[in-house]
């Protein structure tokens, strides 16, 4: 990869300041960014590591009962520490492999918004709140298409707040080489309704399958969405699976998730 300057600030304010210079890029765990830079698909002039900022690490429960996860918290830490939200802990435990989970961070994953990443499904299905150094963003406004989010240049995702559902589950149909989701479906049942978010399938990135949400909000069982699947229009088609195959998987995985959530 091309060379770059490296900074590792210890406060959010210092990180924001370091990201102010031209072509500077925030670095989470680097499990996506570093391979991308090796391929020379990205060539920032400066990397600002967010891993030395204590206030962006760890998991806690907010006054409203929401699970608050610091942006620099690793997948392994979420898998081990998000027990009050089993669906989310299970999602984190299934990302990549153990060594990748030890470095990769929730903030890095959500800021990158890979169309096949797991966390976007969990965050969108939870109606999570994205906290940055400047503002709070609702999940429904945050995801804006493949690799695109509401984050501004230099804005840091410092924390993500997840309302804890009554029942939840994430089902991933793994692409075995990359361990990303060929299709992944996160189902979360709240008192005011069910949310279903799908990753890996759409050319627009993570999306809510509202037809299933409506059916499941009336009857939270796999039977309520039997034989249902979204249309294949706009689904990803590649050597791993056709658009129709992915659309079919969305239905199958949603039914499995509902059954597993119980």
């Amino acid at each position: 990869m091309y060379n770059f300057d490296f900074e590792k600030p210890s406060t959010i304010a210092d990180a924001v300041s370091a990201l102010g210079s031209e072509d500077a890029q925030a670095l989470g765990g680097g499990q996506t960014l570093l391979p991308t830079m090796k391929q020379r698909l990205a060539s920032p002039s400066k990397l600002v590591s967010l891993n030395g900022i204590a206030e962006m690490q760890g998991i806690c429960t907010g006054d409203d009962g929401a699970l608050c996860i610091g942006g620099a918290t690793t997948h392994a830490a979420v898998a081990a520490g998000a027990g009050v939200y089993p669906g989310l802990a299970g999602l984190a435990a299934g990302i990549g492999d153990p060594a990748v989970r030890a470095r990769g961070t929730i903030g890095g994953s959500l800021a990158n918004n890979d169309p096949s990443a797991c966390y976007p499904a969990g965050a969108l299905a939870s109606g999570a709140t994205f906290v940055t150094n400047a503002r709070e963003i609702a999940a429904d406004d945050y995801f804006q298409g493949m690799f695109t989010t509401a984050l501004d240049e230099g804005e840091i995702l410092t924390e993500v707040r997840f309302p804890v559902p009554e029942a939840s589950n994430y089902q991933k149909f793994e692409q075995p080489a990359s361990r990303f989701a060929l299709v992944g479906v996160f189902v979360a049942k709240y008192a005011d309704g069910v949310r279903v978010a799908v990753t890996g399938a759409s050319e627009e990135g993570v999306f809510r399958w509202t037809e299933a949400e409506t059916a499941l909000s009336g009857n939270f069982s796999a039977d309520a969405i039997a034989d249902m699947a979204p249309g294949a229009d706009g689904m990803i088609s590649d050597l791993h699976g056709t658009a129709a195959y992915r659309a079919h998987l969305v239905g199958v995985l949603t039914r499995r998730a509902v059954t597993a959530a119980g």
């Binding site: 590591s49 492999d97 080489a177």
Partner: protein, 161 residues
Amino acid sequence: MSQVTMTVNGKEMSGDAEGRTLLSQFLRDTLDLTGTHVGCDTSQCGACVVHVDGVAVKACTMLAMEAEGASVDTIEGQAAPDGTLNALQQAFQDHHGLQCGFCTPGMIMSAADLLKNNPQPTEAEVRHHLEGNICRCTGYHNIVKAILAASGQDVSSIAAE
């Protein structure tokens, strides 16, 4: 270039690194610790797994500067100073857990990470934990068997498939 200092296998070591210097490059090229192998360089194969502050990571996908001040353990630090293999290494030898040996440093370091947190894993847990370590020789059976043996479990009934 700036100076990076870390504790490697219990000894404090320093060297120059660029921003882009990977931990794997720093260990191999700067510190001459070539036991950490680089297979794919894309964090798929796991030959480069080392422990940073007690946790297994892929050294090809971590910057050397991120390990400033950290405690790093590599395959070179696993055997006793007189060369006596540790239990995992000996089990790999006893159960033919390697052929060409290229993946073995990463396999040993990943397995050590597993056994530290789960001293008596099931066969399924071992296989699950090794998802990020690829071996093109053995077919994995003897690697799994060696790790189960190193954990003190009876592997006499496990066939070498």
